[in-house]
Protein backbone atom coordinates (compact mmCIF):
# COMPACT_ATOMS: atom_id res chain seq x y z
CA UNK A 1 0.00 0.00 0.00
CA UNK A 2 2.71 2.42 0.95
CA UNK A 3 4.69 1.60 -2.11
CA UNK A 4 1.73 2.33 -4.37
CA UNK A 5 1.21 5.69 -2.72
CA UNK A 6 4.88 6.43 -2.98
CA UNK A 7 4.85 5.44 -6.59
CA UNK A 8 1.98 7.80 -7.32
CA UNK A 9 3.60 10.59 -5.36
CA UNK A 10 6.90 10.06 -7.08
CA UNK A 11 5.16 10.06 -10.44
CA UNK A 12 3.33 13.28 -9.73
CA UNK A 13 6.42 14.64 -8.14
CA UNK A 14 8.48 13.73 -11.18
CA UNK A 15 6.06 15.65 -13.37
CA UNK A 16 6.33 18.62 -11.07
CA UNK A 17 10.09 18.44 -11.14
CA UNK A 18 10.30 18.07 -14.89
CA UNK A 19 8.05 21.08 -15.18
CA UNK A 20 10.29 23.26 -13.07
CA UNK A 21 13.48 22.06 -14.64
CA UNK A 22 12.17 22.53 -18.15
CA UNK A 23 13.45 25.54 -20.06
CA UNK A 24 11.23 28.59 -20.07
CA UNK A 25 10.25 28.47 -23.68
CA UNK A 26 9.00 24.94 -23.24
CA UNK A 27 6.79 25.89 -20.31
CA UNK A 28 5.34 28.79 -22.27
CA UNK A 29 4.69 26.50 -25.23
CA UNK A 30 2.75 24.06 -23.09
CA UNK A 31 0.75 26.86 -21.49
CA UNK A 32 -0.02 28.31 -24.91
CA UNK A 33 -1.14 24.93 -26.18
CA UNK A 34 -3.43 24.48 -23.19
CA UNK A 35 -4.93 27.92 -23.72
CA UNK A 36 -5.53 27.27 -27.41
CA UNK A 37 -7.14 23.98 -26.47
CA UNK A 38 -9.63 25.67 -24.21
CA UNK A 39 -10.51 28.34 -26.72
CA UNK A 40 -11.12 25.71 -29.36
CA UNK A 41 -13.10 23.47 -27.09
CA UNK A 42 -16.68 24.63 -27.67
CA UNK A 43 -16.42 24.13 -31.38
CA UNK A 44 -18.25 21.02 -32.36
CA UNK A 45 -15.72 20.02 -34.97
CA UNK A 46 -13.12 20.01 -32.28
CA UNK A 47 -14.74 18.37 -29.33
CA UNK A 48 -16.40 15.50 -31.06
CA UNK A 49 -12.97 13.92 -31.07
CA UNK A 50 -12.98 13.88 -27.30
CA UNK A 51 -15.48 11.10 -27.02
CA UNK A 52 -17.73 10.81 -23.99
CA UNK A 53 -16.10 13.58 -21.98
CA UNK A 54 -18.20 16.43 -23.34
CA UNK A 55 -21.73 16.20 -22.08
CA UNK A 56 -23.38 15.25 -25.31
CA UNK A 57 -27.06 15.87 -25.46
CA UNK A 58 -26.80 19.23 -23.83
CA UNK A 59 -25.23 22.27 -25.29
CA UNK A 60 -21.52 21.89 -24.61
CA UNK A 61 -20.88 25.57 -25.08
CA UNK A 62 -23.40 26.33 -22.37
CA UNK A 63 -21.81 23.80 -20.08
CA UNK A 64 -18.39 25.30 -20.70
CA UNK A 65 -19.74 28.72 -19.82
CA UNK A 66 -21.07 27.42 -16.52
CA UNK A 67 -17.79 25.66 -15.79
CA UNK A 68 -15.82 28.79 -16.54
CA UNK A 69 -17.95 30.83 -14.16
CA UNK A 70 -17.23 28.31 -11.41
CA UNK A 71 -13.53 28.44 -12.22
CA UNK A 72 -13.55 32.22 -11.96
CA UNK A 73 -15.31 32.00 -8.60
CA UNK A 74 -12.88 29.38 -7.36
CA UNK A 75 -9.92 31.56 -8.29
CA UNK A 76 -11.52 34.43 -6.40
CA UNK A 77 -12.30 32.44 -3.26
CA UNK A 78 -8.84 30.96 -3.36
CA UNK A 79 -7.40 34.41 -2.72
CA UNK A 80 -9.47 34.77 0.43
CA UNK A 81 -9.33 31.24 1.81
CA UNK A 82 -6.23 29.84 0.19
CA UNK A 83 -3.81 32.74 0.25
CA UNK A 84 -4.91 34.84 3.17
CA UNK A 85 -6.37 31.96 5.15
CA UNK A 86 -9.70 33.70 5.84
CA UNK A 87 -12.63 31.34 5.90
CA UNK A 88 -15.38 33.13 3.99
CA UNK A 89 -18.44 30.91 4.01
CA UNK A 90 -20.65 33.38 2.21
CA UNK A 91 -18.54 34.05 -0.84
CA UNK A 92 -21.43 33.55 -3.20
CA UNK A 93 -22.95 36.66 -1.68
CA UNK A 94 -20.52 38.74 -3.73
CA UNK A 95 -21.70 36.99 -6.86
CA UNK A 96 -25.23 37.92 -5.87
CA UNK A 97 -24.32 41.56 -5.31
CA UNK A 98 -22.70 41.73 -8.74
CA UNK A 99 -25.62 40.09 -10.49
CA UNK A 100 -28.25 42.13 -8.68
CA UNK A 101 -26.45 45.41 -9.28
CA UNK A 102 -26.41 44.75 -13.00
CA UNK A 103 -30.04 43.69 -12.87
CA UNK A 104 -31.21 46.74 -10.96
CA UNK A 105 -29.38 49.11 -13.26
CA UNK A 106 -30.24 47.56 -16.60
CA UNK A 107 -33.49 45.68 -16.39
CA UNK A 108 -36.81 47.23 -17.40
CA UNK A 109 -38.47 45.47 -14.48
CA UNK A 110 -36.27 47.35 -12.03
CA UNK A 111 -37.78 50.13 -9.93
CA UNK A 112 -34.95 52.41 -10.91
CA UNK A 113 -35.86 52.35 -14.58
CA UNK A 114 -32.39 53.54 -15.46
CA UNK A 115 -32.11 51.02 -18.31
CA UNK A 116 -28.37 51.25 -18.67
CA UNK A 117 -26.46 49.11 -21.11
CA UNK A 118 -24.63 46.14 -19.62
CA UNK A 119 -21.19 47.58 -20.19
CA UNK A 120 -22.03 50.67 -18.19
CA UNK A 121 -23.49 48.68 -15.34
CA UNK A 122 -20.42 46.44 -15.13
CA UNK A 123 -17.98 48.85 -13.44
CA UNK A 124 -20.68 49.97 -11.03
CA UNK A 125 -21.32 46.36 -10.12
CA UNK A 126 -17.62 45.80 -9.55
CA UNK A 127 -17.22 48.85 -7.37
CA UNK A 128 -20.34 48.08 -5.35
CA UNK A 129 -19.20 44.53 -4.77
CA UNK A 130 -15.79 45.67 -3.61
CA UNK A 131 -17.44 48.17 -1.28
CA UNK A 132 -19.62 45.42 0.16
CA UNK A 133 -16.48 43.34 0.65
CA UNK A 134 -14.79 46.16 2.52
CA UNK A 135 -17.93 46.83 4.56
CA UNK A 136 -18.16 43.19 5.51
CA UNK A 137 -14.47 42.93 6.20
CA UNK A 138 -13.84 46.04 8.24
CA UNK A 139 -15.71 44.99 11.36
CA UNK A 140 -15.05 41.30 11.01
CA UNK A 141 -11.48 40.81 9.89
CA UNK A 142 -10.13 41.58 13.32
CA UNK A 143 -12.04 38.65 14.72
CA UNK A 144 -10.81 35.16 15.31
CA UNK A 145 -11.08 32.83 12.35
CA UNK A 146 -14.13 30.95 13.52
CA UNK A 147 -16.06 34.11 14.27
CA UNK A 148 -15.21 35.41 10.83
CA UNK A 149 -16.58 32.21 9.35
CA UNK A 150 -19.90 32.47 11.06
CA UNK A 151 -20.31 36.16 10.33
CA UNK A 152 -19.71 35.58 6.63
CA UNK A 153 -22.27 32.80 6.81
CA UNK A 154 -24.70 35.24 8.34
CA UNK A 155 -23.87 37.81 5.66
CA UNK A 156 -24.88 35.42 2.91
CA UNK A 157 -28.04 34.54 4.77
CA UNK A 158 -28.93 38.21 5.15
CA UNK A 159 -28.54 38.76 1.44
CA UNK A 160 -30.91 35.90 0.87
CA UNK A 161 -33.40 37.39 3.30
CA UNK A 162 -33.09 40.78 1.67
CA UNK A 163 -33.48 39.32 -1.80
CA UNK A 164 -36.61 37.38 -0.96
CA UNK A 165 -38.39 39.87 1.23
CA UNK A 166 -37.37 43.20 -0.16
CA UNK A 167 -39.72 44.66 -2.72
CA UNK A 168 -36.85 46.44 -4.40
CA UNK A 169 -35.06 43.19 -5.16
CA UNK A 170 -38.20 41.47 -6.38
CA UNK A 171 -37.74 38.10 -4.72
CA UNK A 172 -38.69 35.22 -6.89
CA UNK A 173 -40.16 37.35 -9.66
CA UNK A 174 -36.76 38.71 -10.32
CA UNK A 175 -35.47 40.93 -13.06
CA UNK A 176 -35.78 39.98 -16.69
CA UNK A 177 -34.60 41.27 -20.02
CA UNK A 178 -31.20 42.16 -18.72
CA UNK A 179 -29.21 43.30 -21.75
CA UNK A 180 -26.26 41.40 -23.13
CA UNK A 181 -22.69 42.63 -23.40
CA UNK A 182 -22.20 44.85 -26.45
CA UNK A 183 -20.61 44.14 -29.78
CA UNK A 184 -21.76 42.95 -33.20
CA UNK A 185 -20.32 41.11 -36.11
CA UNK A 186 -19.72 42.77 -39.45
CA UNK A 187 -23.15 41.71 -40.65
CA UNK A 188 -24.87 43.50 -37.79
CA UNK A 189 -25.78 40.43 -35.78
CA UNK A 190 -24.88 40.80 -32.09
CA UNK A 191 -21.90 38.80 -30.85
CA UNK A 192 -23.50 38.17 -27.50
CA UNK A 193 -26.83 36.89 -28.59
CA UNK A 194 -29.29 34.48 -27.14
CA UNK A 195 -28.54 31.38 -29.15
CA UNK A 196 -24.78 31.00 -29.19
CA UNK A 197 -23.15 30.58 -25.78
CA UNK A 198 -19.63 30.44 -27.16
CA UNK A 199 -18.77 34.17 -27.16
CA UNK A 200 -19.79 34.32 -23.51
CA UNK A 201 -17.53 31.42 -22.74
CA UNK A 202 -14.64 33.03 -24.60
CA UNK A 203 -15.21 36.28 -22.76
CA UNK A 204 -15.07 34.55 -19.38
CA UNK A 205 -12.06 32.52 -20.45
CA UNK A 206 -10.21 35.69 -21.40
CA UNK A 207 -11.10 37.28 -18.10
CA UNK A 208 -9.93 34.20 -16.25
CA UNK A 209 -6.56 34.48 -17.93
CA UNK A 210 -6.28 38.17 -17.04
CA UNK A 211 -7.32 37.54 -13.44
CA UNK A 212 -4.83 34.69 -13.10
CA UNK A 213 -2.04 36.92 -14.38
CA UNK A 214 -3.00 39.59 -11.87
CA UNK A 215 -3.15 37.13 -9.01
CA UNK A 216 0.19 35.68 -9.99
CA UNK A 217 1.71 39.14 -9.93
CA UNK A 218 0.32 39.76 -6.49
CA UNK A 219 1.58 36.41 -5.29
CA UNK A 220 5.13 37.07 -6.26
CA UNK A 221 5.22 40.38 -4.51
CA UNK A 222 5.10 41.60 -0.96
CA UNK A 223 1.33 41.14 -1.09
CA UNK A 224 1.60 37.42 -1.60
CA UNK A 225 4.28 37.14 1.05
CA UNK A 226 2.18 39.14 3.44
CA UNK A 227 -0.77 36.82 2.86
CA UNK A 228 1.30 33.72 3.53
CA UNK A 229 2.84 35.25 6.64
CA UNK A 230 -0.61 36.18 7.93
CA UNK A 231 -1.78 32.67 7.30
CA UNK A 232 1.16 31.06 9.04
CA UNK A 233 1.65 33.29 12.07
CA UNK A 234 -0.29 36.52 12.17
CA UNK A 235 1.27 37.87 15.35
CA UNK A 236 4.80 37.30 14.15
CA UNK A 237 3.86 38.92 10.85
CA UNK A 238 2.69 42.04 12.65
CA UNK A 239 5.91 42.18 14.61
CA UNK A 240 7.85 41.97 11.37
CA UNK A 241 6.10 45.10 10.19
CA UNK A 242 3.32 43.58 8.09
CA UNK A 243 0.14 45.68 8.29
CA UNK A 244 -2.01 42.59 8.58
CA UNK A 245 -5.42 44.20 8.67
CA UNK A 246 -4.77 46.13 5.50
CA UNK A 247 -3.72 43.06 3.58
CA UNK A 248 -6.58 40.97 4.89
CA UNK A 249 -8.93 43.65 3.66
CA UNK A 250 -7.23 43.63 0.26
CA UNK A 251 -7.70 39.88 0.05
CA UNK A 252 -11.37 40.31 0.82
CA UNK A 253 -11.76 43.14 -1.67
CA UNK A 254 -9.98 41.21 -4.43
CA UNK A 255 -12.10 38.16 -3.81
CA UNK A 256 -15.21 40.32 -3.81
CA UNK A 257 -14.18 41.96 -7.08
CA UNK A 258 -13.85 38.62 -8.81
CA UNK A 259 -17.10 37.36 -7.33
CA UNK A 260 -18.92 40.43 -8.52
CA UNK A 261 -17.38 40.09 -11.96
CA UNK A 262 -18.66 36.55 -12.24
CA UNK A 263 -22.09 37.69 -11.14
CA UNK A 264 -22.22 40.48 -13.67
CA UNK A 265 -21.17 38.15 -16.47
CA UNK A 266 -23.77 35.64 -15.42
CA UNK A 267 -26.49 38.30 -15.44
CA UNK A 268 -25.40 39.46 -18.86
CA UNK A 269 -25.84 36.03 -20.30
CA UNK A 270 -28.82 34.73 -18.38
CA UNK A 271 -30.87 37.93 -18.85
CA UNK A 272 -32.79 36.92 -15.77
CA UNK A 273 -31.82 37.29 -12.13
CA UNK A 274 -34.00 36.24 -9.22
CA UNK A 275 -33.63 34.79 -5.77
CA UNK A 276 -34.23 31.39 -7.37
CA UNK A 277 -31.07 31.18 -9.37
CA UNK A 278 -28.93 32.69 -6.64
CA UNK A 279 -28.82 29.70 -4.38
CA UNK A 280 -26.43 30.69 -1.61
CA UNK A 281 -25.48 27.16 -0.76
CA UNK A 282 -23.31 27.53 -3.81
CA UNK A 283 -20.78 29.08 -1.43
CA UNK A 284 -20.18 25.53 -0.23
CA UNK A 285 -19.64 24.30 -3.75
CA UNK A 286 -17.05 26.95 -4.44
CA UNK A 287 -15.34 26.19 -1.15
CA UNK A 288 -15.31 22.52 -2.08
CA UNK A 289 -13.78 23.46 -5.42
CA UNK A 290 -10.96 25.35 -3.74
CA UNK A 291 -10.29 22.67 -1.16
CA UNK A 292 -10.51 19.86 -3.67
CA UNK A 293 -8.13 21.47 -6.06
CA UNK A 294 -5.67 22.60 -3.45
CA UNK A 295 -6.17 25.72 -1.45
CA UNK A 296 -3.49 28.32 -1.79
CA UNK A 297 -2.54 27.59 -5.33
CA UNK A 298 -3.96 29.05 -8.53
CA UNK A 299 -3.73 25.93 -10.66
CA UNK A 300 -5.44 23.99 -7.90
CA UNK A 301 -8.30 26.47 -7.84
CA UNK A 302 -8.72 26.25 -11.60
CA UNK A 303 -8.65 22.47 -11.62
CA UNK A 304 -10.94 22.29 -8.59
CA UNK A 305 -13.42 24.71 -10.08
CA UNK A 306 -13.46 22.89 -13.36
CA UNK A 307 -13.78 19.48 -11.78
CA UNK A 308 -16.59 20.46 -9.45
CA UNK A 309 -18.57 22.28 -12.12
CA UNK A 310 -18.11 19.44 -14.55
CA UNK A 311 -19.32 16.93 -11.99
CA UNK A 312 -22.42 18.97 -11.26
CA UNK A 313 -23.30 19.23 -14.91
CA UNK A 314 -22.71 15.51 -15.27
CA UNK A 315 -25.08 14.92 -12.36
CA UNK A 316 -27.98 16.22 -14.39
CA UNK A 317 -30.15 13.54 -15.81
CA UNK A 318 -28.73 10.70 -13.75
CA UNK A 319 -31.05 9.18 -11.20
CA UNK A 320 -30.16 7.73 -7.83
CA UNK A 321 -32.90 6.19 -5.72
CA UNK A 322 -35.51 8.01 -7.68
CA UNK A 323 -33.98 11.40 -7.22
CA UNK A 324 -31.90 13.15 -9.82
CA UNK A 325 -28.27 13.10 -8.81
CA UNK A 326 -28.19 16.84 -9.38
CA UNK A 327 -30.32 17.25 -6.24
CA UNK A 328 -27.61 15.55 -4.23
CA UNK A 329 -24.98 18.06 -5.23
CA UNK A 330 -24.84 20.06 -2.01
CA UNK A 331 -24.83 16.96 0.15
CA UNK A 332 -22.17 15.44 -2.05
CA UNK A 333 -19.85 18.40 -1.82
CA UNK A 334 -20.45 18.78 1.89
CA UNK A 335 -19.17 15.25 2.25
CA UNK A 336 -16.30 16.02 -0.08
CA UNK A 337 -15.21 18.76 2.32
CA UNK A 338 -15.25 16.38 5.27
CA UNK A 339 -13.43 13.64 3.40
CA UNK A 340 -10.81 15.98 1.98
CA UNK A 341 -10.02 17.41 5.39
CA UNK A 342 -9.47 13.95 6.79
CA UNK A 343 -7.54 12.37 3.98
CA UNK A 344 -5.99 15.04 1.82
CA UNK A 345 -6.31 18.52 3.24
CA UNK A 346 -3.72 19.95 0.89
CA UNK A 347 -5.93 19.17 -2.08
CA UNK A 348 -5.36 17.27 -5.28
CA UNK A 349 -2.70 19.62 -6.55
CA UNK A 350 -0.51 20.56 -3.63
CA UNK A 351 1.45 23.69 -4.24
CA UNK A 352 5.15 23.70 -4.73
CA UNK A 353 5.86 24.70 -1.18
CA UNK A 354 4.45 21.51 0.18
CA UNK A 355 5.85 19.43 -2.62
CA UNK A 356 9.30 20.81 -1.86
CA UNK A 357 8.82 19.86 1.76
CA UNK A 358 7.91 16.35 0.88
CA UNK A 359 10.98 16.18 -1.29
CA UNK A 360 13.28 17.32 1.47
CA UNK A 361 12.00 14.76 3.91
CA UNK A 362 12.58 11.97 1.48
CA UNK A 363 16.09 13.18 0.80
CA UNK A 364 16.78 13.18 4.51
CA UNK A 365 15.61 9.63 4.83
CA UNK A 366 17.91 8.47 2.09
CA UNK A 367 20.94 10.32 3.38
CA UNK A 368 20.50 9.88 7.11
CA UNK A 369 19.39 6.28 7.06
Amino acid sequence: MTSVREWIYSGRHAVGERWHNAPRWMRWAVIAAVIVFFYALPNREFYQWLGPIPTTGSNFGQVLFTISIYVLLAVGLNIVVGFAGLLDLGYFGFFAVGAYTVAVLTSPSSDLKTLWPWLLALPVALVLTMISGVMLGTPTLRLRGDYLAIVTLGFAEMIRVAATSSEFLKGQRGFNQIPHPPGSYSDGKPIFGVLDPRPYYWLVLTLIILVVIGVRNLNRSRVGRAWISIREDEDAAQLMGVPTFKFKLWAFASGAFIGGLAGALFAGKQNFVSSQNLELLNSIIILAAVILGGSGNIVGAIVGGGLVAYMIERFRGIEFFGVELYEYRFMFFGLVLVVMMIFRPQGLIPNRRRAAEFKDRRKEVIVGG
Partner: protein, 282 residues
Protein backbone atom coordinates in the same frame (compact mmCIF):
# COMPACT_ATOMS: atom_id res chain seq x y z
CA UNK B 1 26.56 56.19 17.29
CA UNK B 2 28.44 53.67 19.36
CA UNK B 3 32.18 53.88 19.19
CA UNK B 4 33.71 50.53 18.30
CA UNK B 5 35.50 48.81 21.11
CA UNK B 6 38.83 47.05 20.87
CA UNK B 7 38.08 43.36 21.33
CA UNK B 8 40.04 42.17 24.38
CA UNK B 9 41.19 38.58 24.58
CA UNK B 10 39.55 37.84 27.90
CA UNK B 11 35.82 37.31 27.36
CA UNK B 12 34.85 38.91 30.66
CA UNK B 13 36.18 42.25 29.62
CA UNK B 14 34.61 42.32 26.19
CA UNK B 15 31.79 44.34 27.59
CA UNK B 16 33.77 47.50 28.10
CA UNK B 17 31.50 50.49 27.67
CA UNK B 18 31.09 51.83 24.20
CA UNK B 19 30.96 55.43 25.32
CA UNK B 20 33.31 57.36 27.52
CA UNK B 21 31.08 59.93 29.13
CA UNK B 22 27.44 59.79 29.97
CA UNK B 23 26.92 63.20 28.43
CA UNK B 24 27.46 61.80 24.96
CA UNK B 25 25.01 58.91 25.42
CA UNK B 26 21.75 59.18 23.56
CA UNK B 27 18.76 57.46 25.13
CA UNK B 28 17.03 55.14 22.72
CA UNK B 29 14.48 53.25 24.79
CA UNK B 30 13.28 54.61 28.10
CA UNK B 31 11.42 52.49 30.60
CA UNK B 32 9.96 55.21 32.77
CA UNK B 33 8.73 54.00 36.17
CA UNK B 34 6.74 51.22 34.62
CA UNK B 35 4.37 49.13 36.69
CA UNK B 36 2.48 46.30 35.04
CA UNK B 37 -0.33 44.39 36.69
CA UNK B 38 -2.05 41.26 35.47
CA UNK B 39 -5.20 41.08 37.51
CA UNK B 40 -3.93 40.83 41.05
CA UNK B 41 -0.34 40.02 40.17
CA UNK B 42 2.21 42.80 39.97
CA UNK B 43 4.54 41.60 37.27
CA UNK B 44 6.63 44.76 37.07
CA UNK B 45 6.99 47.13 39.97
CA UNK B 46 8.20 50.65 39.25
CA UNK B 47 10.91 49.53 36.86
CA UNK B 48 13.05 52.37 35.66
CA UNK B 49 16.03 52.24 33.32
CA UNK B 50 17.28 53.57 30.01
CA UNK B 51 18.77 51.88 27.01
CA UNK B 52 21.35 53.99 25.22
CA UNK B 53 22.14 54.05 21.56
CA UNK B 54 25.03 51.88 20.46
CA UNK B 55 25.22 49.68 23.51
CA UNK B 56 24.44 46.05 24.12
CA UNK B 57 22.18 45.87 27.16
CA UNK B 58 21.50 42.64 28.96
CA UNK B 59 18.30 42.03 30.91
CA UNK B 60 18.69 39.23 33.41
CA UNK B 61 17.13 37.87 36.54
CA UNK B 62 16.04 34.58 38.05
CA UNK B 63 12.97 32.81 36.72
CA UNK B 64 9.77 34.69 37.35
CA UNK B 65 11.63 37.97 37.72
CA UNK B 66 9.59 39.62 35.03
CA UNK B 67 12.23 39.72 32.29
CA UNK B 68 9.92 38.45 29.58
CA UNK B 69 7.11 40.70 30.78
CA UNK B 70 9.43 43.66 30.72
CA UNK B 71 10.71 42.65 27.32
CA UNK B 72 7.19 42.32 25.97
CA UNK B 73 6.24 45.68 27.41
CA UNK B 74 9.30 47.25 25.84
CA UNK B 75 8.42 45.80 22.44
CA UNK B 76 4.85 47.02 22.63
CA UNK B 77 3.04 43.77 23.29
CA UNK B 78 1.91 44.60 26.82
CA UNK B 79 0.64 47.97 27.94
CA UNK B 80 2.04 49.26 31.24
CA UNK B 81 -0.52 49.87 34.00
CA UNK B 82 1.52 52.83 35.16
CA UNK B 83 4.42 54.75 33.72
CA UNK B 84 5.38 54.82 30.11
CA UNK B 85 7.84 53.45 27.64
CA UNK B 86 9.40 55.72 25.09
CA UNK B 87 11.28 54.68 22.00
CA UNK B 88 13.28 57.39 20.25
CA UNK B 89 11.47 59.92 22.37
CA UNK B 90 7.99 58.76 21.40
CA UNK B 91 5.55 56.86 23.57
CA UNK B 92 4.97 53.39 22.24
CA UNK B 93 2.06 52.58 24.50
CA UNK B 94 -0.97 51.79 22.41
CA UNK B 95 0.87 51.86 19.12
CA UNK B 96 0.12 49.09 16.65
CA UNK B 97 2.74 46.42 16.45
CA UNK B 98 3.68 46.99 12.85
CA UNK B 99 4.09 50.70 13.56
CA UNK B 100 6.60 49.96 16.27
CA UNK B 101 8.54 47.83 13.84
CA UNK B 102 8.50 50.64 11.32
CA UNK B 103 9.81 52.97 14.00
CA UNK B 104 12.92 50.86 14.10
CA UNK B 105 12.44 48.18 16.74
CA UNK B 106 12.73 44.52 15.78
CA UNK B 107 12.72 41.39 17.85
CA UNK B 108 13.20 37.67 17.89
CA UNK B 109 11.25 35.15 19.92
CA UNK B 110 12.14 32.76 22.68
CA UNK B 111 10.34 29.93 20.92
CA UNK B 112 11.27 30.79 17.34
CA UNK B 113 8.41 32.06 15.27
CA UNK B 114 9.50 31.75 11.71
CA UNK B 115 7.04 31.24 8.88
CA UNK B 116 7.53 27.51 8.53
CA UNK B 117 6.33 26.99 4.95
CA UNK B 118 8.25 29.91 3.53
CA UNK B 119 11.85 29.54 2.46
CA UNK B 120 14.64 31.19 4.39
CA UNK B 121 14.89 33.81 1.70
CA UNK B 122 11.17 34.53 1.75
CA UNK B 123 11.15 34.84 5.52
CA UNK B 124 13.76 37.57 5.31
CA UNK B 125 11.95 39.22 2.44
CA UNK B 126 8.91 39.65 4.66
CA UNK B 127 11.09 41.62 7.02
CA UNK B 128 12.46 43.69 4.17
CA UNK B 129 8.91 44.36 2.95
CA UNK B 130 8.30 46.40 6.09
CA UNK B 131 9.71 49.46 4.42
CA UNK B 132 8.26 48.94 0.97
CA UNK B 133 6.37 51.94 -0.16
CA UNK B 134 4.69 50.67 -3.30
CA UNK B 135 1.00 49.89 -3.18
CA UNK B 136 -1.00 46.78 -3.90
CA UNK B 137 -2.07 48.14 -7.24
CA UNK B 138 1.45 48.68 -8.43
CA UNK B 139 2.24 45.13 -7.40
CA UNK B 140 -0.77 44.01 -9.41
CA UNK B 141 0.48 45.69 -12.55
CA UNK B 142 4.18 45.14 -11.87
CA UNK B 143 5.05 48.78 -12.20
CA UNK B 144 8.74 49.71 -12.43
CA UNK B 145 9.00 51.15 -8.93
CA UNK B 146 7.57 47.95 -7.52
CA UNK B 147 9.98 45.80 -9.50
CA UNK B 148 12.87 47.89 -8.26
CA UNK B 149 11.80 47.53 -4.64
CA UNK B 150 11.45 43.78 -5.14
CA UNK B 151 14.95 43.58 -6.51
CA UNK B 152 16.36 45.66 -3.68
CA UNK B 153 14.56 43.52 -1.12
CA UNK B 154 15.93 40.38 -2.71
CA UNK B 155 19.47 41.69 -2.64
CA UNK B 156 19.13 42.76 0.94
CA UNK B 157 17.82 39.33 1.88
CA UNK B 158 20.71 37.60 0.19
CA UNK B 159 23.18 39.87 1.93
CA UNK B 160 21.61 39.16 5.29
CA UNK B 161 21.75 35.44 4.72
CA UNK B 162 25.47 35.83 4.21
CA UNK B 163 25.79 38.07 7.23
CA UNK B 164 24.30 35.51 9.58
CA UNK B 165 26.13 32.70 7.87
CA UNK B 166 23.49 30.57 6.16
CA UNK B 167 23.59 31.52 2.47
CA UNK B 168 23.44 27.89 1.40
CA UNK B 169 19.98 27.47 2.93
CA UNK B 170 18.42 30.21 0.84
CA UNK B 171 15.72 28.14 -0.85
CA UNK B 172 15.01 25.69 1.91
CA UNK B 173 11.75 25.84 3.83
CA UNK B 174 12.28 27.37 7.23
CA UNK B 175 10.91 24.32 8.98
CA UNK B 176 13.69 22.23 7.50
CA UNK B 177 16.53 24.26 8.90
CA UNK B 178 18.47 23.04 11.90
CA UNK B 179 17.75 24.67 15.23
CA UNK B 180 20.83 26.86 15.12
CA UNK B 181 20.13 27.89 11.55
CA UNK B 182 16.58 28.79 12.45
CA UNK B 183 17.74 31.04 15.26
CA UNK B 184 20.09 32.79 12.89
CA UNK B 185 17.39 33.11 10.27
CA UNK B 186 15.16 34.78 12.81
CA UNK B 187 17.86 37.31 13.54
CA UNK B 188 18.35 37.91 9.83
CA UNK B 189 14.65 38.46 9.37
CA UNK B 190 14.57 40.96 12.19
CA UNK B 191 17.59 42.76 10.73
CA UNK B 192 15.79 43.01 7.39
CA UNK B 193 13.37 45.49 8.90
CA UNK B 194 16.28 47.96 9.20
CA UNK B 195 16.01 48.31 12.93
CA UNK B 196 17.74 50.81 15.12
CA UNK B 197 17.18 48.52 18.09
CA UNK B 198 17.29 44.74 17.93
CA UNK B 199 15.70 42.86 20.82
CA UNK B 200 16.82 39.27 21.27
CA UNK B 201 14.73 37.00 23.48
CA UNK B 202 16.96 34.22 24.81
CA UNK B 203 18.81 33.81 21.53
CA UNK B 204 21.18 31.20 22.92
CA UNK B 205 18.59 28.84 24.36
CA UNK B 206 19.49 25.31 23.45
CA UNK B 207 22.92 26.12 22.08
CA UNK B 208 26.13 24.30 22.87
CA UNK B 209 29.20 26.35 23.88
CA UNK B 210 30.58 26.53 20.36
CA UNK B 211 27.30 27.83 19.01
CA UNK B 212 27.11 30.33 21.83
CA UNK B 213 30.51 31.64 20.90
CA UNK B 214 29.36 32.07 17.29
CA UNK B 215 26.29 33.89 18.50
CA UNK B 216 28.43 36.17 20.57
CA UNK B 217 30.45 37.09 17.48
CA UNK B 218 27.29 37.68 15.52
CA UNK B 219 25.90 40.01 18.16
CA UNK B 220 29.13 42.00 18.13
CA UNK B 221 29.00 42.15 14.34
CA UNK B 222 25.49 43.51 14.61
CA UNK B 223 26.54 46.17 17.06
CA UNK B 224 29.40 47.07 14.75
CA UNK B 225 26.81 47.82 12.10
CA UNK B 226 25.52 50.52 14.39
CA UNK B 227 22.53 48.66 15.76
CA UNK B 228 21.72 48.80 19.44
CA UNK B 229 21.00 45.43 21.03
CA UNK B 230 18.78 44.43 23.94
CA UNK B 231 19.26 40.91 25.15
CA UNK B 232 17.45 38.59 27.55
CA UNK B 233 19.63 35.66 28.43
CA UNK B 234 20.15 33.06 31.10
CA UNK B 235 23.67 32.08 30.20
CA UNK B 236 25.91 34.19 32.40
CA UNK B 237 29.05 33.66 30.37
CA UNK B 238 27.32 34.92 27.28
CA UNK B 239 25.85 37.88 29.10
CA UNK B 240 29.09 38.81 30.77
CA UNK B 241 30.93 38.26 27.53
CA UNK B 242 28.95 40.41 25.19
CA UNK B 243 27.00 43.07 27.06
CA UNK B 244 28.10 46.60 27.87
CA UNK B 245 25.63 47.03 30.66
CA UNK B 246 23.27 44.81 32.59
CA UNK B 247 19.91 45.42 34.23
CA UNK B 248 18.84 42.84 36.81
CA UNK B 249 15.23 42.20 37.77
CA UNK B 250 13.89 40.22 40.69
CA UNK B 251 10.21 39.79 41.49
CA UNK B 252 9.37 42.57 39.11
CA UNK B 253 11.74 45.11 40.58
CA UNK B 254 15.05 46.37 39.30
CA UNK B 255 17.75 45.44 41.75
CA UNK B 256 20.87 46.36 39.83
CA UNK B 257 21.94 48.37 36.83
CA UNK B 258 25.53 48.76 35.73
CA UNK B 259 28.63 47.31 34.15
CA UNK B 260 28.90 43.54 33.99
CA UNK B 261 31.85 43.52 36.36
CA UNK B 262 29.94 45.57 38.92
CA UNK B 263 26.77 43.52 38.63
CA UNK B 264 28.69 40.30 39.04
CA UNK B 265 29.91 41.42 42.43
CA UNK B 266 26.63 42.99 43.57
CA UNK B 267 25.49 41.12 46.64
CA UNK B 268 21.83 41.65 45.91
CA UNK B 269 22.24 39.99 42.53
CA UNK B 270 24.09 37.10 44.06
CA UNK B 271 21.39 36.77 46.68
CA UNK B 272 18.70 36.77 44.01
CA UNK B 273 20.31 33.93 42.11
CA UNK B 274 21.76 31.89 44.89
CA UNK B 275 19.64 32.84 47.84
CA UNK B 276 20.79 34.04 51.26
CA UNK B 277 21.39 31.94 54.38
CA UNK B 278 18.23 32.12 56.51
CA UNK B 279 19.63 34.16 59.35
CA UNK B 280 20.94 36.77 56.91
CA UNK B 281 17.65 37.32 55.14
CA UNK B 282 17.29 40.94 56.20
Amino acid sequence: MGETVQKPTVPEQAGAPAVESTAKREPLLEVDHVTLRFGGVVALNDVNFTLYKGEILGLIGPNGAGKTTCFNAMTGIYQPSEGEIRFRGERITGKKKHHITKMGMARTFQNIRLFPEMTALENIQVGADAHHKTSVLSALFRLPRHRREERDGLEKAERLLEFVGIPHRMHDAARNLSYGEQRRLEIARALATDPVLLCLDEPAAGFNPAEKEELLQLIRKIRDQGITVLLIEHDMRLVMGVTDRIVVLEFGKKIADGLPAEVREDHRVIAAYLGVPDDDAA
